[in-house]
Symmetry: D2
Subunit: 322 residues, 4 copies
Amino acid sequence: MTTSEALSEATLRDYIARFSNWGRWGEDDEIGALNLITPACIARAARLVTQGRSISLTLPYDAFGPQNGGFRPNPQLLTTATGTDHLGGAQDPLPGGWGPAKGFGYADDTVILPTQAGTQWDALSHIFYEGRMWNGRSAAEVTSKGAAHNGIEKLTGRIVTRGVFLDLATWKGVETLEPGYAITPDEVDTYCADKGIAVESGDALIVRTGFMSARRAAWGDYSGGAAPGLSLTMAPWLYDHEIAAVATDTWGVEVRPNEIPVFQPLHLVSLVHGGIPFGEIFDLDALAVDCREDGVYVFMFVASPLPITGAAGSPVSALALK
Amino acid sequence: MTTSEALSEATLRDYIARFSNWGRWGEDDEIGALNLITPACIARAARLVTQGRSISLTLPYDAFGPQNGGFRPNPQLLTTATGTDHLGGAQDPLPGGWGPAKGFGYADDTVILPTQAGTQWDALSHIFYEGRMWNGRSAAEVTSKGAAHNGIEKLTGRIVTRGVFLDLATWKGVETLEPGYAITPDEVDTYCADKGIAVESGDALIVRTGFMSARRAAWGDYSGGAAPGLSLTMAPWLYDHEIAAVATDTWGVEVRPNEIPVFQPLHLVSLVHGGIPFGEIFDLDALAVDCREDGVYVFMFVASPLPITGAAGSPVSALALK
Amino acid sequence: MTTSEALSEATLRDYIARFSNWGRWGEDDEIGALNLITPACIARAARLVTQGRSISLTLPYDAFGPQNGGFRPNPQLLTTATGTDHLGGAQDPLPGGWGPAKGFGYADDTVILPTQAGTQWDALSHIFYEGRMWNGRSAAEVTSKGAAHNGIEKLTGRIVTRGVFLDLATWKGVETLEPGYAITPDEVDTYCADKGIAVESGDALIVRTGFMSARRAAWGDYSGGAAPGLSLTMAPWLYDHEIAAVATDTWGVEVRPNEIPVFQPLHLVSLVHGGIPFGEIFDLDALAVDCREDGVYVFMFVASPLPITGAAGSPVSALALK
Amino acid sequence: MTTSEALSEATLRDYIARFSNWGRWGEDDEIGALNLITPACIARAARLVTQGRSISLTLPYDAFGPQNGGFRPNPQLLTTATGTDHLGGAQDPLPGGWGPAKGFGYADDTVILPTQAGTQWDALSHIFYEGRMWNGRSAAEVTSKGAAHNGIEKLTGRIVTRGVFLDLATWKGVETLEPGYAITPDEVDTYCADKGIAVESGDALIVRTGFMSARRAAWGDYSGGAAPGLSLTMAPWLYDHEIAAVATDTWGVEVRPNEIPVFQPLHLVSLVHGGIPFGEIFDLDALAVDCREDGVYVFMFVASPLPITGAAGSPVSALALK
């Protein structure tokens, strides 16, 4: 119905008016659409685990990640104790008054991790629209001390539900959807019908565009540049289908360049007003191989963010369990 | 049989000789006892999820954690974009050539995270004995660049199995076991018999001493000081029962001071030679409440570390699913 | 004349009205009282260097510094290459396509440095009063990206002038002035008369309370707690004497608790409105020894901050040259 | 005499044998050639300051520096308090029990600084040759805890001497010497004769190739790539002239590619064995302009590194004072 061609800033305001969940789960709510994940959703998801297989959906956190040294550096691992120190006798005696090593040695390290640099969940404090974030709270609550409300730690333990895998790249027979390609409700519906998937309330939508596969060898502008992704018109669809969370293999979930002259409008509708956490830079290639082999595109999705108090996002060890 | 009184450095060498798994899963193995988690273990664990409840076992990562500013600082969250910036007009236009904000605002941040500072898994590269780590590899492989083998990223996706909860503090009717208290096989067996738990190959053992509850309000020397924990005599028990992973609510799993004049000898036997990942600083209080209520002490345990390439450990969002 | 007893919030407003330098050096000025350091000041300072001695005024930047793990951690040094790696053969071949090492080895590291954690200059962007900083600029210019104006980098190269050393602890024959002790203009004038020092326009005032000596072995609440320091009544004195910069061996220059119920009022008058950079946590003990020996309390003071773009402060290798 | 064409690995060994200073200043010495800076050198340098001008030689430390995101990231400034927070009311009351703000606001931040990322001095613990560093100490002393000896903090306060400026780019009438161009003793002698400079014991040599000017707009492989620089044949010259320190506007002082198949051989002779600190990534463009104007190529050089305990290098606010 609505096509990209017809979209405008008016669409954004219309969508916000019609598809907001502010107040739906109370004035104090800080977890948004994750409220849709009921105990029944968790139990139903667990019943999908019959083969006993765990597939990681997380890109390694290291200097070879997709960031190019600008706004967000790649994760840096720095050491404070090493095996070479142990071998060189530098750990005898041990620090901290722990006494002689007598054969004991250890390695230790620190990681500097921009929370949005790799596979990550956006917190509901990550994005604002006209001074407000999820559930109408003021952006003034997100300061240099972090978020007083809606921080990522509120989502810890909450992202356990059925995952529905939209491997659009494989389905369309391409290595990757092209930058600028907008994924629409029609296409998603056709895909689900083709796979025999009935989307249910509380599901997590996991979308593979193939863009990570195509750029993995040489990231270029993978992070921050043009990309395939969800059309703004997916906002009503996500709302109507009561999707709890969305994750993609791109840096920003949405199609880039955006379809209207506002930056990341789907974030503004579905994350800020819908309360749906967005997962970005998920590595879905192993899952794609697995699903091509067994033909099963639904699974138990366990992807709980770290409780980094007040953070705008978190790295995550996301798993598809079958 | 073996009592703490009879333990000596000779015990350590004897245990290493008898309870090593080096070579058991091939010369190239880097995941150790996690090999014991078979597909059947994962499927069996998932069948325990009937009530649809998710309980987080992770302490918040922030400045109020248990580290006291010495060897390992608490996690630090530092901001690169805030809601107050958005409100102050500092994000219009957006960086990166993204153009005018038109109502769009965002928060962003970086976390500095010593990998062993909070709830965490020890990698099999974390501990050495006489120059060697898990599976006989040289400590020389763990340099300032991180671990070439046995790094924490090898364990990502692997820690999904049945969790067996030993809430010893509640069971003994104390707030906490005292520093120096050694948990022995006899006690564990009595507990399991009392709860009707049959430990099985591939299980994860989750041990609550109550020490975190007792120190949470004022950490003091919680990290690095004397603590209750597993006796060295648990090494044969862990081996015989084919335990895949062990986690506790203390900083170092083992009783401190150690029972013999070698630092952390259980690490040397069960982690270095047994290949069992140790989980430390787990927050087990919510789980204790939950288990007291439903009387169910086994659950699906999902606790996959982040794939931080080459790291000696990783924070983790650990979950008990029922 | 004015005594501490008579001070009030009205004094603060009065001082601000009378001792502000806003606009004095033009609307665009970002270096404040450092404008008082003329070429003649620099040349005059250099002429004081006759003995050829350099005395460092900087505390080591390391984990043993005065911060206690709360708001500002001590500096952390983390390694990325070590001599033990070199010895262990881990650097052969070298990274970056640099080829075989052939005997070459190296160490490398990264420091995480809270800019206010140790010996440091406050930037003119460090403090605000009622929404404004030096020269009337809005606090809105200091965001998560740093300071658009008045950042510490503007002061680089500028702090080269005559230093006048007020070693009040030695002069009064005490190890340290006590916390809460307020240094007044009368006392400073008496000291200068006693030492035969005529303070001149563009001088830097270096004040030793002895508080660092007294707390160095066990810092306690040295950082952030009660401390001896300058009285608010020094504000007119600093203005009248055209002092270019002030540094002390305490964490905050001013006496703490403050003399009026406003936090750090001397900062509000002399830094925010006077444009005088404040130097804190300077280590003046070696200088005290040196001056007791030669009786010379004026010297060339070279203490240029690092040009950390937009930072609110900077570590500094401050030198007294004689 | 010796030309690049005739150089070989044998030259390296010959130079090390002939131009080493190990033991020259005692077995315990940790400052190397800085011993050559006598009180007379300092006083002589100060006498050069007649015009009262201070010229910064340091590149800004920020995200726009010469590192390209690989081995060493550019400095990162991260905020912990901002003016926008102050304006947004987020600082009232103040943290730390400091009470109500009453108009007081502040900014604070942390810098993550790879010690070799920008303008910096190499410590005498930065480079090893066959397991040894300056004065014969073992590389085993440089561990994940930093350098037990020869760390950069030993050089704090020591680099105050006469600077001799070799602005070779301007002198030769080029924007920059080309990558691979080796600066030889003959050329340096000719330059000094032309400028009427008599190099003296204890001088610091400041060499401008022009390479930073040429690459500043687009750094490319400035850091780590091919570069103009000192020939290995400068080693005898530096030794014979008793140069205390050398700094250039390139990333590694030496010509790259190196003249012999050993990585950075001049470091191995003159830094490891000669004990001469090397300064890298110095920004010498403002100095070049200044010297072209007044024709004075010698000055007081004050460039004291921060005392970062055990570090392999340090950022520095280097000044030329005239």
